[in-house]
Chain length 132, copies 2
Amino acid sequence: MKLSTKARYGLKLMCYLAKEEGKGPISLSTIATQIDSSDKYTEQILLALRKADLVKATRGANGGYFVENAKDISVGSILRTLEDDLVIVNCVGDNNSCPKIANCQTHVVWENLYKQMNSLLDSMSLESIIRK
Amino acid sequence: MKLSTKARYGLKLMCYLAKEEGKGPISLSTIATQIDSSDKYTEQILLALRKADLVKATRGANGGYFVENAKDISVGSILRTLEDDLVIVNCVGDNNSCPKIANCQTHVVWENLYKQMNSLLDSMSLESIIRK
DNA sequence: AATTAACCTAGTAAAATAGTAGGAATTAAA
DNA sequence: TTTAATTCCTACTATTTTACTAGGTTAATT
């Protein structure tokens, strides 16, 4: 159960963008260099984050990606968009459909774990972690 | 980031053995049937759990697997043996060797997550979850 | 018009997980 | 003392997921 590189690069990149907040769009290639990843892989991550509205982008010459209001962006929201909603087992979260939940002792474990992870990660804002 | 089937089957199986505590050894095939898995796959899981001393086994005819003191076995200890120590990223836990930790903002996130997961799972005993 | 840079989809390579197979060792019962 | 039951152990294979690459399209700026 390892966190994906997508999520790790993604959080790293968001920290970088948060630190540069207010300085205008930053190009993909600059971002990729900062986080030691390839342009193409970084692009995929940024695409997902933009679709989730966690980063903004402007196209064309001098375009790039940027973050607004880092203090309102939680680490949880970033990881959920890059990590399949942080659903650790299929029987937790929104579309859990296991018919045996009622008499399943293990379910309570996954449910607790899921809730704790989300609430911890939601309690950390991007701004709070870059200040340290 | 999904939990492995090994860990899921493993916890299920431990719940079953905990419920049967004191009734003597239970054969592999009985256990496999109970958790809807194959004998061979179940065997691998039991092997790992036995090596971690979480289940006991007796060999030969009428042999099998059993659990002692379910109240002293934590869910965390089970999952750690089946899930690569629950190390979500390489830079947490015992053999973290990343030289950049000192000036890495994301590390604090992984470290917190790692600690919370472990402490939650350690706080749940096998006995406590089968009672519900 | 040319250039720069994001957008988007599809494909491939690598790694991890899931599961199978089969023989060796041990114990109990016949 | 032989046979049957049962765990032990290692290696292998198939499947799925993750990681990463490629290349054309669209939009904005100069």
